[in-house]
């Protein structure tokens, strides 16, 4: 039995095959193509060719892809939608999508705020204005809208109004109408959660097309026994159906997959992962085997959202970073020769001094290009450039730490040859085998998860009981999502007090994950 993992990145599409012991059997890298789909097909072809396994033995196939991010950034293939907020008279002071770019905002054909919503403690703010909802969905139907975003105030505390309104939408718009309920997508903070829900609603066609495309390309290559999964940005997998329901959760699955892949390859559960590409380096934190979540609002295509995203910092440093001598000393990046590195870098016969040339000259990467072409470079200058790279990485690693204790570092990605193996504040630098395709490996070895989030007053529910409830609910959710119950573990639990607020109210959050059946 084998698993096939594919990760579509900005520059490269990587593919791996792992066996049932999760050992890497084959791995390849191919350029990401304009239409992405062709690149995926190429990757599948190549990785199958480079191994001689029985295709019928591939039982699971995982895809991590940038389709959704691209669609938002390029405003392509976005579906017309309706946006309905359950909140009035609360929130009428803030119109939905008020600070969106107009070319993106026009995806919403009908936007309305109607009666509904809850208080922070679950009391009803207002009942859902059923008549207004019916009228709204009828207007949507006149526009041919087949996807609606429904956002209720404190929907993260109670979701029943969103669920009921969703049913009403499908009664009027048809059972195939795509539903995006805010309680399933974002966390506390109405506007950010609403934004994420709207983006999710407009991405449904994109998700339909890449999920179908992936299945089709597998069939074309005679991989017919594989269950298909898609990477989401918390380092776990979704089924095809869930992906179609929540396409937005695929955004930023790339960095997440490299963090998970790095964890698997290095056998570390807690470390900082440094993924060096051609142009940028992503630094993320591995906590209990999963990426740490970002605690601040994240902007996608200019829209502020709050759905969960990995806490990753990107710096303008990569194998293709351009090295310059200036009045103020040596600089490295942030600009890069990017994918043209094999033409422009000195070691490949080009005329641009890059970080890779520095690494080759100093003997860090002896097998890259032609070392003779950089022999003339001044040793001291190269040492200075390496020092610049070292300090840049050290500073950002430090910013990702949670304490001053030295940490383990896992170096992955094709560009990681430029990073020296001695770094300050670091216990040990690990550079595992197959480091170049850690992201596709991350996709192949992923688990499935469940989450719980609610505001709880510790005066009413003691802290221990609240945390227990959170754990139980997260585990239940993970099993519902397809995890084998015995393998499910709590991977994250936290409680944060609400500021400027009496009543000892805390936001309690838990996440669980387990192996796929």
């Amino acid at each position: 039995m084998y698993r096939l993992g594919i990760d579509v990145g900005g520059t490269n599409t990587d593919a791996v095959i792992v066996d049932d012991q999760l050992q890497v059997v084959a791995h390849i890298k191919t350029p990401t193509t304009e239409d992405v789909y062709t690149g995926i097909v190429q990757a599948i072809k190549q990785v199958l060719r480079s191994s001689d396994i029985d295709r019928s033995q591939i039982t699971q196939a995982m895809l991590g892809t940038t389709h959704c991010t691209n669609a938002i950034v390029e405003r392509k293939n976005l579906a017309d939608i309706g946006v309905l907020r359950l909140a009035a008279p609360a929130t009428l002071g803030i119109k939905p999508m008020v600070d969106w770019a107009s070319d993106l905002a026009q995806i919403a054909k009908e936007v309305q705020v109607i009666g509904g919503g809850f208080e922070f403690d679950g009391k009803e703010l207002a009942p859902v204005d059923i008549e207004a909802a019916q009228a709204f969905f009828k207007k949507c139907s006149q526009h041919g809208v087949l996807s609606v975003a429904i956002i209720g105030v404190f929907g993260t505390v109670r979701d029943d109004q969103e669920v009921e309104t969703g049913k009403l939408a499908q009664e009027i718009l048809g059972s195939n109408c795509h539903l995006s309920l805010s309680s399933r997508i974002g966390s506390m903070g109405l506007v950010e959660r609403e934004n994420a829900t709207i983006l999710n609603a407009t991405l449904y066609k994109v998700a339909q097309s890449f999920t179908e495309g992936f299945e089709r390309s597998l069939q074309d290559e005679n991989v017919t026994n594989a269950q298909v999964y898609f990477s989401q940005n918390d380092g776990t997998l979704m089924t095809k159906e869930t992906t179609r329901d929540y396409p937005i959760l695929t955004i930023a699955s790339g960095p997440t997959n490299s963090i998970r892949g790095a964890s698997y390859l290095s056998k570390l559960k807690n470390a900082i992962v440094v993924d060096v590409g051609g142009t940028t380096t992503d630094i993320g934190t591995l906590t209990n085997g999963f990426p740490r979540e970002s605690s601040i609002a994240v902007t996608i295509g200019g829209v502020r959202t709050n759905f969960r995203m990995p806490d990753v910092i990107s710096i303008g440093l990569g194998g293709g970073s351009i090295v310059r001598e200036t009045e103020n000393g040596i600089t490295v990046g942030p600009d890069s020769v990017g994918y043209e590195i094999t033409k422009k870098a000195l070691v490949f016969g080009g005329d641009t001094l890059t970080a890779t040339d520095i690494a080759v000259r100093l003997g860090l990467a002896p097998s890259v290009g032609n070392p003779e072409l950089v022999q003339h470079l001044d040793q001291q200058l190269c040492q200075q450039a390496l020092q610049v790279i070292k300090e840049l990485v050290e500073d950002h690693i430090d910013a990702m730490k949670v304490s001053s204790e030295p940490v383990d570092i896992v170096l992955v990605g094709g560009g990681s040859i430029i990073i020296p193996e001695q770094l300050n504040g670091v216990k040990k630098v690990h550079k595992p085998k197959f480091f170049e395709t850690a992201n596709a490996i991350g996709a192949a070895i992923s688990k499935v998860s469940g989450v719980f989030e609610q505001l709880i007053s510790y005066d009413q529910t003691p802290r221990d009981d609240a945390l227990e409830l959170a754990r139980t609910e997260a585990v239940r959710q993970a099993v519902e999502n397809g995890a084998i119950a015995e393998t499910v573990e709590i991977i994250d639990i936290e409680d944060v007090m609400l500021q400027y607020h009496d009543g000892n109210v805390h936001r309690v959050k838990a996440k669980a994950a387990g192996d796929l059946t």
Binding site: T91, I94, K123, L190, S295, K401, Y500, H501, D502
Partner: protein, 361 residues
């Protein structure tokens, strides 16, 4: 008199996060409401305090409660009309204009919502020159202005006016009402005439906020280094530059109390410092020596972007410039120190102005 449109509003919001001195709540949700109100009703007219007649009736506009709740259960938008009508009827006076009570954080933005929606001018003045956690902590208290009659309104349309015997009672009653009304309310308090406003208010604080916001936005365009430009415009005194090595928090009542510890970087390498906070930053101690306390503003900004960092976003590894800004002069009076000096917040030291402390370093 000048007009405040969307561009100016963005700068004011950014400046307000600096004047929050670590607290006051993220201005984001307020900014969105103001943005929508200006889009619908056009730019807001802002008056210099000197343009306001002595007998004009002016009302401060604010929210009370948890900014986190406001960020989920935003306003209906009509709260300010309800409040203004109610207070106007109660006093038997037409409202001439609105003003912020707190220039820092989310409360900096709400008066713009009221001004745009009601077509009233906004006065370039506030009662703090920054953000503070309790409602008696305004310069008007120094002038003996009463906080009540105070009008409260929730997003459901419930409203009330309360009268109290002391400002401390106002704080207690208003907070209890706010909790019962669902965790956040819109309020008018410290209604006053133009003369009182001119005598005790922190004048031109909105303009200052705009200048600060613009300076942060265009920090890379100035003549000097970004840090020099920032300190020059902020008229700030550099207190420390360091990396956060620890954040200690505890919870008392509705307040987030704690201490953030730094190890020096660059010119401060080898030194250590800490800042104590209660929602807002209270005191900065470098190498065991106190360099600044409330009511002076202690602001933590990112060393690269100069974006202010609120106390609830402090975390290990962040590189921070700690800057002291002088508070409004009347806070430095005896009464002022009694209301918002270091001892009120449990810091056992006399108040010494920031610039004097700096000279003795």
């Amino acid at each position: 008199m000048r007009k405040i449109g969307i561009d100016q509003l963005e700068d004011i919001a950014l400046g307000a996060s600096l004047l929050g001195a670590g607290g006051g709540g993220d201005p984001y949700i307020g900014r969105l409401m103001a943005l929508g109100a200006i889009q619908d009703h056009g730019p807001v007219t802002m008056l210099d305090p000197e343009e306001v007649p002595d007998d004009a009736f002016i009302v401060p506009i604010a929210m009370m409660g948890a900014p986190t709740v406001l960020a989920e259960k935003g306003m209906m938008g009509d709260e300010f009309r309800v409040l203004v009508d109610m207070i106007s009827k109660y006093y038997g006076k037409e409202v001439y204009g609105v003003m912020p009570i707190e220039a820092g954080g989310v409360n900096s933005m709400l008066p713009f919502v009221a001004a745009a929606r009601l077509g009233l001018p906004l006065i370039d003045v506030d009662g703090m020159g920054r953000a503070f956690p309790e409602l008696q902590m305004v310069t008007y208290t120094i002038g003996g202005v009463k906080s009540t009659p105070m009008a409260l309104c929730d997003e459901k349309g419930n409203s009330t006016i309360i009268n109290t015997v002391t400002n401390k009672w106002t704080e207690n009653l208003a907070r209890a009402l706010t909790m019962e009304m669902g965790g956040s309310t819109s309020v008018i308090l410290y209604a006053m005439d133009g003369k009182t406003m001119k005598e005790y208010g922190v004048k031109n604080i909105v303009t200052r906020s705009e200048q600060l916001g613009k300076a942060i936005r265009t920090i890379k365009e100035g003549r000097g280094t970004p840090q020099e430009n920032f300190l020059e415009v902020a008229e700030g005194i550099k207190l420390f530059k360091g990396k956060i090595v620890d954040v200690l928090r505890e919870v008392k009542g509705a307040f987030n109390i704690g201490k953030v510890v730094f190890d020096g970087i660059n010119e401060y390498k080898g030194q250590s410092a800490f800042v104590q906070f209660q929602n807002e930053n209270l005191a900065c101690t470098v190498e065991g020596k106190i360099l600044a306390t409330v009511p002076d503003l202690i602001c933590l900004v990112d060393t690269e972007t100069f974006i202010p960092i609120p106390t609830d976003q402090l975390k290990y590894g962040k590189r921070v410039l700690v800057v002291g800004l002088q508070c409004y002069p009347s806070w430095r009076s005896e009464v002022g120190i009694e209301i918002v000096g270091p001892r009120y917040f449990g810091i056992e030291t006399d108040y010494i102005p920031l610039e004097e402390r700096a000279q003795n370093v």
